[in-house]
């Protein structure tokens, strides 16, 4: 009796699987051959449902749990596949072709990659991105830490100051960029005009423009990092500080010998947060300078002096209409970011173990 039931179940399950796969494959074939048949969508859905049902009823005890797990994970895996894995694979493969966004005519191998390294403006872009990252990592953390110290002191109206320092982080980068562009070219120039009779905007020369981006970025990001430092500083146990005070430690000694060592993990987190976000800098860069002004590099006139990696990729692909070149730059960018992220995870894990 029991044997018959499981036999029947087995047949149903296999039948469901077979019919499901058939439906699925047929619907996909129709889709790729450009068919306009209306039943395609329904066929695909029925196929998928049948496959899943077939898997569910598949009479196996050994793999049943695994199958159930996969079915439950399926929606998430599917979304991940569609939004991350497939674009990644497509993107990498496009970088080896001459795809123009419409058609692909030739596979060009590594030509795009050799080309990007012969472009001085791209090398320049990598250089200034690294420069920007270093400057920011130091400045954002420094400013944020000082603000955090200020906000954990016992001054009056601390709630207000915390909110005030954090508030501009809520404004989007594009809006910030345009606001600061106005500040630099309309407000600051008015002041310099009256003071030193010079109305050159900071955004007109490379050095000052680069500095301007850093100012805006620190202004935007320091408030956010400050919040993390405040949390870190609040976790320093009061009895330790009290003990230090009884032992006669000066405020400076308390800061350098007690507080900073105690919040070492926070410093690691903040450093990497600023590192990765500075690497990906795009919106402020786009809105504030859009890559201008010019710079001199290895005897060549670089038109896009402040165009950092992300902006350079965007401009190559969209503005210059060179998709494959932009794509190969993006692959390189991905590799750089992947290395940074792996380092980050490794180092923070190690620190956590130490504590």
């Amino acid at each position: 009796m029991g044997n018959e039931v499981s036999m029947g179940k087995k047949i149903t399950a296999i039948l469901m699987l077979v019919v499901g796969v058939l439906f699925f494959v047929r619907a996909m074939m129709l889709d790729f051959s450009g068919s306009k048949a209306d039943f395609r969508g329904a066929m695909l859905i029925i196929g998928v449902v049948l496959i899943i049902a077939g898997l569910y009823f598949f009479p196996t005890l050994r793999y049943h749990r695994t199958i159930i797990n996969i079915i439950f994970l399926f929606p998430l895996l599917f979304a991940f596949l569609v939004t991350v894995i497939i674009p990644l694979v497509l993107g990498v493969s496009y970088s080896f072709t001459d795809w123009d966004g419409i058609r692909m005519n030739n596979i060009v191998g590594l030509a795009n990659y050799t080309k990007i390294f012969s472009q001085k403006d791209f090398i320049w872009s990598i250089l200034i991105t690294f420069m920007f990252v270093v400057f920011n990592m130091i400045l954002v953390n420094l400013v944020a830490f000082l603000l955090a110290l200020l906000c954990t002191s016992k001054l009056k109206g601390m709630g207000f100051f915390r909110a005030a320092y954090f508030l501009h982080n809520l404004i989007g980068g594009i809006v910030l960029g345009y606001i600061w562009q106005f500040v630099f070219s309309n407000v600051v120039t008015k002041i310099t005009m009256t003071l030193i009779k010079d109305n050159t905007s900071m955004l007109e020369n490379f050095r000052t423009a680069f500095f301007a981006i850093i100012i805006v970025y620190v202004w935007q990001y320091a408030g956010y990092i400050m919040l993390i430092y405040i949390t870190g500083l609040n976790t320093v146990p009061g009895d330790v500080i009290e003990a230090a005070a009884i032992d006669g430690a000066s405020p400076m000694q308390t800061l350098f010998d007690i507080k900073i060592p105690m919040i070492a993990p926070t410093i690691t987190i903040c450093t990497f947060l600023t590192l990765t976000s500075a690497f990906k800098q795009f919106d402020v860069n786009l809105a504030l300078t859009n890559g201008t002004p010019s710079a001199d590099f290895m005897g060549e006139y670089i038109t896009q002096g402040t165009s950092m990696l992300a902006l350079n990729i965007f401009q190559t692909a969209v503005v210059k209409d060179n998709y494959p070149l932009g794509q190969s730059k993006a692959v390189l960018f991905f590799i750089i970011l992947a290395i940074v992220s792996i380092l980050q995870v490794r180092i923070s894990n190690k620190k956590e173990v130490e504590l």
């Binding site: 450009g34 306009k36 209306d38 395609r40 969508g41 329904a42 695909l44 859905i45 998928v48 449902v49 899943i52 049902a53 569910y56 159930i68 079915i71 439950f72 399926f74 929606p75 599917f78 123009d100 966004g101 419409i102 080309k115 472009q119 562009q181 070219s185 309309n186 120039t189 109305n199 050159t200 905007s201 955004l203 007109e204 504030l288 300078t289 859009n290 890559g291 201008t292 002004p293 010019s294 060549e300 006139y301 038109t303 896009q304 401009q315 969209v318 503005v319 210059k320 209409d321 060179n322 070149l325």
Partner: protein, 425 residues
Amino acid sequence: MKKKVLALVLATAMVFGLAACGGGSTGSGDSGSASTGSGDASGSVRLLNGKPEIDEQMQALAAKYKEETGNELIVETIGGNTSAGDELKKMYQADNVPDIFVIEANQAANWDGMLADLAGEEWTNKTGFELVNDSMGTIGFPYTVEATALGYNKDILDKAGVDPSTLTSPAAWKEAVEKIDSQKADLGLTAVFGWCAEPADLGWSSGTHVFGQYLDAGLKADDTTYIDLLNDGGQIDTDRMLHFAEFVGMMNQYSDPDLLTTGTYDQQVAGFVDQKYAFITQGNWCVTEDKGFEMGFAPYAFEDGINTIIAGPPSYWVAYKDGNVDGAKAFFNWCAGDSAQDILVNQAGLVSPFDDCKYEATNPFFKSMNEYITAGNYSGWHTMLKKDGLQNETCQVFADYAGGKLDAQGFVDTIAQVIKNYYAE
């Protein structure tokens, strides 16, 4: 058992939820392809418009089309910071290309073999502005004509005693500009030129339009000497470029210092409309209604005898070969006719490219533009045929020249190097 049932219910619910999402997108895809699939002229036609400022009038045009012919026109508008060319690539990948869409002349190569040949259509007899491509034939329908040169404020020139028709040589320009500059206070001017070389947001103005004067000023509309030279590996005529640079140098010198390197488009146009500048380096699109003074165009006469403005369609509507071509052709013929031109000219403020259009454009620059066009003194928009994105590079050289970092010769050398590198990419 209960647990199992629950698990099953949950699993199916999830699957159906997912399937519903998938089903939704396939559904809309189907409806999209259905409209392109019906090939007869009576079917609906989708048009991708690249000018957001005339979206409302385009909807009125669609309503009129429906009313007069019973055919449906669906207008979709792209613009602002999204470029139509980019959006079209997405639409192509999604198999959702509109039947009619907007392209600029140098984008035709991207669509090689995919656009319908419109040769022999009735409207082609009424205009000389259609876009003709070597491999695909007559592909572009001109929906507007735009002109760019040095726009002037006639009232101010009259008061200053300058006759714009004499501005056809560098010497005459120099004399006129100095004359106006000396009377700035009496005329209420801030500066002679409303010229802005700010590169980050206004690079299209210097890099495409002003640069276009180097390519075309003084040439007949079908003369492609300098654009051919440019597209042949990025070469320039250094003598002509130097003369052009000297002329731009004059504009730099007599422009408003607050506008020149840090200004915005709005600031530039507002200054011209408020009669603070005698000249503006834009085109007929910058002022579309009467502002209480007469306007006109003067040529960029950087060499003796240059007497042309640049006029022509900056972009075109094309018909997608795999779309509803018959429907598109029917629409184009109707669009070249009286009732459509009434809307485009009188409501949208466009300038008609068609000879038999009886409406006088409301655009304040139209009178001057029309004089140049009827006299044959107009050059082509060949600046639209330069390599895509070049304007982003050259605008920076204009900015450095305006900012005083380069002199005229330095401008020529730098722009030559920048162009050469860009074409080598």
